[in-house]
């Protein structure tokens, strides 16, 4: 057998094969009635894993994980079953060991990740569950001999690819050969050959060290772990150092009547944040100029664009290398969270449990941003002759806590073949955050005039109160009914609208147990599930949005009457009737297994319908203190199907081969986006793009996918080249008008999300790989649309680089609304490939177990998309921090 897996399972608190964690408890796998995915240790993605989302990418259908870029600690955007909202938050609720906190958990401490996908499973979390729920269970200790695990990884990260910009020679050829450029432009060209992207990136080193101890202190099972991650970013000067600690104590007292679970997690992070503006600057900076300027030290020896009179050119891009090296932005982030759960099974009625679950989540972050006095970036913040550079502080902290009190009655009534599991719960959740406001200082610590903030800090607080009830009833191990009801009240809404009901009902039918298939059948399990539930959403809504208020303008926004300047009392926009977004969702699923579970899987179909949809929309001018407002305005649906399949083609002593395939289809559509349906409604523009102030490329409109691209239809010449400024006159009125001649073309959301994982063990060798594919997703190439033109290359006494697309299109002016820039971004990615060798016993020490591994992440990407990465959340490709390819070697030692 696979020795590693056995050890990990022995460490577990619950046997994963039989018990599934659900909201507020766990149930036998056979009693599961909703759409739930569980991914446990042996299935996690491996390699240089720095957060839990990387471990589960591609591992279960309907869970889409999109990296936020390669910046250390930047995480991912997680979406479960497509979209459920337009403008409200859609992140799933994260619950760690029963505590609803989004704090960082060291992946080495995680035993399993469970995702509640359908509303019936998630509705128990009520108003925070529309984006789905992710339950993280951490590893726990067991009584017995102390076990030590030591895990060490060393990684190298490298840039995979650069944005295709003109080389210095291409640049010179283009400027010299195009009639667009005048003599001044030609005279400004330098003689250097600088690849600015190469200048800002590097090969970065990451080390990740973890040690854990588990066992018992007397009768108290414990697990203690400490981790240290030092991750350098591929962008020069980017670095993160994070120390994490976690402790769990799980004593059981009074002949198992009293169970206490204590979980504590802490992290201390120090970041040096590189100026990510350098990424865009490196694409835009003229390649014919050199990094350094030997003659002038105004900008710390770096070349910058100056005008004829010697003053810095305010419109030109800044030297990207200087942007990195002349800024020091260091932040410290401390966070601690944990909870204690006390569960008492009454002595006189042991089937009834009374429990209290109390938790806290506190954190603070402080930091300083310094810019050298010679930094071009801050050269013209204030008068160049007085204030130079920057030395600014920032800090904030937050303090969240919750208390939940629960009654749980569990009873097997064998006489009527029934099992009852019922809970009643009261919960109180309070989130409070404070951001401190500071004046600005120059590098020499001189206060910049009028930068004193009007308010010393800003505090935000919101509170949620909940009442929950649930019954799980199982009859004859064949039929399971789950029904739950939650009532949530939120301080984010006015008294009339703040309470909401969130019910759910689900049925499970274990068909295998009906005996229809006989005993000898190849069918080893078969279960039908059906569920319906309503979840709510309030995230993404600012606190206090329903209250009419006035605030004072800050010190640079005063208005003069007479000789005095008055701070202005400004009315805020508000919506008195703001309320919950509600998502109703139905799910039908079938779980099956054949040949003693050598082939197993599940199929689910679902239909989600969101009403009172929150969207930022143009409101009729004159109705509020703004022209765009977040309000409950529409509805949308998502329909989809999911398939999960597992195979074990080979299983023997020496060889085991497992394969997992998953596929999810989703189609989301906006069904309403207007208080009064009107055919003349053109939709709500969204998706701001770079290179055009206030311009957008996407549209939210009825009967369309969310964020569909709204573009003109490009006209091409006989050779298939786009003709500048030529678009199809779609309504045939002889003019090219917005809306009238634009059409909705594709969307950023994939129709299909596919995952494939396989694991092959041969004796002591273990080989694994994970692949993912998205199909049907489109991307707007904003880098090409903004920088693939000649116009930007020479303006006002400076030159700027362009992407090589300009050599093909020969566009002079921006054609940002052209469908030419909306490209198919379907892709197949190999996320991970790796090999592990289990050395086993080290020398003569019997209780030791050592394994060595080597992994590569971001191995390959097959796509037709022209930009750097086809996978960018939201479908607008701007200057992303590239995800590096990572080579990792690791050592894992147990004793």
């Amino acid at each position: 057998n696979n020795q590693i897996n056995i050890i990990l399972i022995r460490d577990s608190s619950s046997n994963l094969g039989d018990v599934v964690v659900i909201g507020y408890g766990s149930v036998d796998k056979k009693d599961v009635t909703g759409a739930i995915a569980t991914i446990s240790t042996k299935d996690f993605q491996k390699g240089s894993i720095t957060s839990f989302d990387q471990m589960i990418a591609g591992k279960a259908p309907g869970i889409s994980i999109t990296s936020n870029g390669g910046h250390p600690g930047s995480g991912s955007t997680i979406r479960i079953r497509g979209l459920s909202s337009l403008s409200a938050g859609q992140d799933p609720l994260q619950v760690v060991d029963g505590a609803p906190f989004s704090g960082y958990v060291n992946p080495n401490d995680i035993e399993s990740v469970t995702i509640l996908k359908d509303a019936a499973s998630a509705a128990i979390y009520g108003s925070r569950a529309s984006g789905g729920v992710i339950l993280i269970t951490t590893k726990k200790g067991r009584l017995g001999q102390t076990k030590v695990n030591f895990n060490n990884q060393f990684s190298l990260s490298q840039v995979k690819d650069y944005v295709d910009v003109l080389t210095a020679d291409q640049f010179r050829d283009f400027v010299n050969s195009s009639s667009f450029f005048n003599e001044e432009a030609k005279s400004l060209m330098g003689t250097a050959n600088t690849n600015w992207q190469k200048e800002i990136y590097r090969t970065a080193v990451t080390s990740n060290n973890n040690i854990s101890l588990s066992g018992g202190i007397g009768k108290i099972p414990y697990r203690l772990s400490v981790g240290y991650l030092n991750q350098a970013g591929i962008l020069k000067t980017d670095n993160m150092g994070r120390t994490t600690g976690s402790l769990s104590l799980t004593p059981t007292l009074w002949q198992n009547h009293l169970k206490i679970t204590l979980n504590l997690n802490g992290s201390v992070t120090r970041n040096r944040n590189a100026n990510q503006g350098a990424i865009g600057a490196a694409i835009a900076f003229d390649p014919t100029q050199s990094v350094y300027d030997g003659t002038d030290h105004t900008f710390g020896n770096y070349y910058e664009w100056v005008r004829a009179d010697g003053t810095p050119n305010p419109l030109a891009a800044f030297n990207p290398v200087s942007m990195l090296s002349q800024r020091t932005d260091i932040s410290h982030y401390n966070r601690g969270f944990g909870n204690i759960n006390v569960d008492y099974s009454l002595h006189f009625l042991p089937d009834l449990h009374v429990s209290a679950n109390l938790g806290f989540d506190v954190g603070n972050s402080t930091g300083t941003t310094k810019e050298q006095p010679t930094s071009r970036n801050t050269y013209n913040l204030q008068s160049s002759t007085v204030y130079k550079g920057l030395n600014n502080q920032y800090s904030s902290d937050f303090n969240n806590y919750f208390a939940e009190y629960m009654l749980n009655y569990k009873k097997d009534i064998t006489s009527i073949k029934s099992n009852i599991n019922a809970i009643l719960l009261y919960g109180y959740y309070d989130d409070r955050s404070v951001t401190d406001n500071y004046a600005s200082y120059d590098y020499f610590n001189r206060e910049i005039p009028n930068s004193q903030p009007k308010y010393p800090d800003s505090l935000k607080q919101n509170t949620l109160i909940s009442y929950v009830g649930r019954l799980i009833y199982t009859y004859d191990n064949k039929y399971t009914l789950t029904a739950s009801l939650r009532r949530d009240g939120s301080s984010k809404f006015a008294p009339d609208t703040r309470w909401g009901w969130f019910p759910s009902v689900a049925l499970g039918w274990n068909l295998k147990k009906e005996g229809w298939f006989g005993d000898a059948s190849a069918l080893s399990s078969l279960k039908l599930r059906g569920s319906y539930g309503i979840t709510g959403n309030q995230s993404g809504i600012d606190n206090y949005r329903f209250i009419p208020t006035y605030y004072l303008s800050d010190n640079v926004s005063n208005y003069q009457f007479g000789d005095n300047f008055y701070s202005m009392y400004t009315p805020s926009s508000y919506d008195e009737s703001l309320k919950w977004e509600k998502t109703a969702s139905a799910n039908i699923g079938l779980d099956f297994g054949f040949f003693d579970q050598r082939i197993f899987g599940s199929v689910d179909v679902y239909n989600k319908h969101t009403t009172d949809l929150l969207a930022v929309v143009n409101i009729p001018a004159g109705t509020n203190f703004t022209n765009q407002l977040l309000t409950n305005i529409g509805s949308m649906t998502s329909k989809g199907a999911e398939l999960n399949l597992g195979f074990v083609p080979v299983r023997s002593n020496d060889v085991e081969w497992t394969v997992n395939l998953n596929a999810a289809y989703n189609n989301s559509k906006i069904t309403k986006l207007l208080a009064n349906a009107d055919s003349s409604f053109k939709g709500q523009p969204v998706g701001g793009i770079e290179g055009a102030t206030g311009q957008t490329i996407q549209i939210q409109n009825m009967q369309q996918e969310p964020n569909a691209f709204l573009v003109y239809k490009q006209v091409y010449d006989a050779n298939g080249k786009p003709i500048e400024g030529a678009y199809e006159d779609l309504n045939g009125d002889g003019q090219i008008n917005p809306y009238d001649d634009q059409y909705s073309y594709k969307s950023p959301w994939p129709k299909w999300v596919l995952g494939f994982s396989t694991n092959l063990r041969y004796k002591k060798w273990n080989f694994s790989t994970t692949l993912r594919a998205n199909i049907g997703n489109y991307m707007y190439n904003n880098i090409a649309s903004n920088q693939g033109i000649a116009y930007n290359m020479s303006v006002n006494q400076y030159l700027a680089n362009a992407v090589t697309d300009v050599l093909y299109t020969r566009f002079i002016n921006k054609q940002q609304q052209s469908d030419y820039y909306v490209q198919n971004a379907s892709f197949l990615k190999m996320d991970n490939i790796g090999i592990t060798y289990n050395v086993g016993q080290v020398l003569k020490y019997k209780n030791t177990d050592l394994s060595l591994s080597a992994h590569v992440q971001n191995v390959l990407c097959i796509t037709k998309y022209d930009g750097l990465d086809p996978e960018i959340y939201g479908g607008i490709d701007q200057n992303i921090y590239p995800n590096p390819r990572v080579y990792t070697i690791g050592l894992n030692l147990n004793f």
Partner: protein
């Protein structure tokens, strides 16, 4: 009750309006919405869907009034700008959308000020009550001004007043002629409640501002309603002229950073300050957009050492109003221009075209305001005496009664005597075409040109062709629909039951 969480750092309307000081700070926002994009620094905006730095009133208004005319051309390719340069805008134009929403935003703020101050707090002294009366009249003046802008540019905007509830109820549309009547009645109704001419604090409207707007309204009445009001224009411009204002001896001082000090001519201004009132529009835009690093003596010389965005310069007809070689003109108003490259062959090349450096961030003694960098301290005149002289003269020529031509000529010669420094530029007779030219010589780059050309019937069609009119270097005729801007498509979409698009425009 644990769910009743209240914000800190904000105040309820009851608190704001319970004291006269709080009320005055709320009035500061009614006016400040002219000058600032938002209340939290130059990066903040009261509006969405437009870049914050572009979302102030003056920058947008100026672009709409000047770029489509023979006075100015902007080199930038930012969305919306080429359409204005070439008179080819659509209902999707971002800058027009921003301007429309900015005007209506300021009206909404004024509406709420008027509504909130309806009941006078019992604690107010007699002096407080008198001040409150003035405040309320001024808020109504600001609202009337913005309705005038909407009427002049967009014709038929949505209408709200102090009785309109904040929420989501869609306002009805008002017809141009009805809006004219409303503005006229408002300006007349508030007249007794406003402070007498020159008696109010700097930066606040008085009766002279009220009369000045009435005079402007009446001069253009035929455009708005089809019925002329030249006699009324004479009546009200004369009231302004006789209310104690006088021409500033030095024309160029009107456009400098210390133009808030000892300025006898400006009746009402939008006030800016490089330190206290910062934004990227307003006069900061007017100074920076008109120069770049190679203009004249460089950005330092114009008070913006860190600025100079190189965008806007004159089309050739403007300098030529001062003679074929304007540099030889004795008219000092021409001395605020620079360069002799009249022709613009490529709209995107800032180097081409005569530069206009009318607004500067320097003081009248040549010094720079404290901490001069990018932001400008120069105030922008919304109303100044010179315009009233020109209104009087034009209304007389157009047949208004109550004035006479001799007085009209004497008013014009006052402007010309200041321009020439002596009587050498004086005229013996005036005609309507002369008035149009004289208005351009006196008021160029102050946001009048589009309205003036429309009043003279020369904006659209082929009566007058100037370079790049209609997007062609030598100019071409444009359709008459361009005399009105379109209602922004986004608002027609948001308020479809009430809003009808102006003729000739698609949504």
């Amino acid at each position: 009750k644990k769910l009743d969480r209240m914000p800190i750092n904000t105040t309820s309307n009851t608190d704001v309006f319970s004291t006269i000081d709080g009320t005055k700070q709320a009035l500061a926002k009614v006016y400040g919405a002219f000058a600032l994009t938002g209340s939290s620094g130059s990066g903040s905006s009261d509006l969405g869907g437009i870049d914050a730095g572009t979302s102030d009133f003056l920058r947008l208004y100026w672009n709409a009034q000047e770029l489509p005319t023979d006075e100015a051309l902007c080199a930038w390719g930012d969305p919306g700008i080429p359409d204005l340069n070439e008179i080819s805008w659509t209902s999707g134009n971002l800058l027009l959308n921003g301007l429309y929403n900015r005007c209506i935003y300021q009206i909404t703020v004024a509406n709420s000020f008027i509504r909130e101050t309806e009941n006078v707090p019992a604690s107010f002294s007699d002096e407080d009550k008198e001040n409150l009366t003035h405040f309320r009249a001024e808020a109504r003046f600001v609202r009337a001004y913005q309705y005038w802008v909407l009427m002049d540019l967009f014709g038929n905007p949505p209408f709200t007043d102090e009785n309109s509830k904040i929420g989501k109820i869609a306002p009805p549309q008002i017809k141009r002629a009805d809006l004219f009547t409303y503005i006229e009645s408002e300006l007349k109704a508030i007249e007794p409640d406003l402070v007498a001419p020159k008696q109010n604090e700097y930066g606040r409207a008085d009766q002279a501002a009220d009369w000045a707007l009435l005079a402007r309204l009446y001069l253009n009445a035929a455009v708005y309603t089809g019925t002329d009001h030249y006699t009324d224009a004479i009546t009200y411009s004369e009231k302004v002229i006789n209310s104690g204002y006088s021409l500033d001896t030095h024309y160029n001082d009107l456009f400098l950073a210390d133009n808030n000090v000892n300025n006898p001519e400006t009746i009402l201004s939008i006030n800016y300050d490089g330190n206290e009132t910062q934004n990227y529009g307003g006069t900061t835009f007017l100074v920076n957009a008109c120069i770049d690093g190679s203009t004249g003596d460089g950005p330092d010389a114009y008070g913006v050492p860190a600025g100079g965005w190189g965008g806007i310069r004159a089309r050739s007809p403007l300098p030529k109003l001062f003679g074929d070689d304007y540099t030889a003109s004795k008219d000092k108003r021409a001395a605020l221009m620079l360069g002799t490259e009249y022709d613009i062959t490529n709209t995107t090349t800032f180097a081409e075209g005569v530069k206009v450096i009318k607004f500067r961030n320097t003081n009248s003694d040549g010094s720079l305001p404290a901490n001069a960098s990018t932001f400008v301290s120069t105030d922008f005149p919304l109303f100044r005496l010179a315009e009233q002289y020109l209104i009087y003269a034009e209304a007389v020529l157009r047949g208004g009664t109550g004035g006479d031509k001799a007085t009209a000529i004497s008013y014009i010669n006052k402007l010309r005597e200041r321009a020439y420094g002596n009587t050498s530029g004086n005229v013996a007779n005036i005609t309507l075409p002369f008035i149009l030219d004289e208005r351009a010589r006196e008021l160029y780059y102050e946001g009048f040109r589009r309205t003036d050309l429309i009043r003279f019937g020369e904006f659209t069609g082929s009566a007058y062709i100037w370079p790049w009119k209609g997007g062609i270097k030598d100019g071409t005729s444009v359709a008459d629909k361009y005399n009105l801007f379109p209602i922004p498509a986004s608002d027609v979409a948001a308020n479809p039951d009430n809003l009808t698009q102006n003729p000739g425009y698609g949504n």
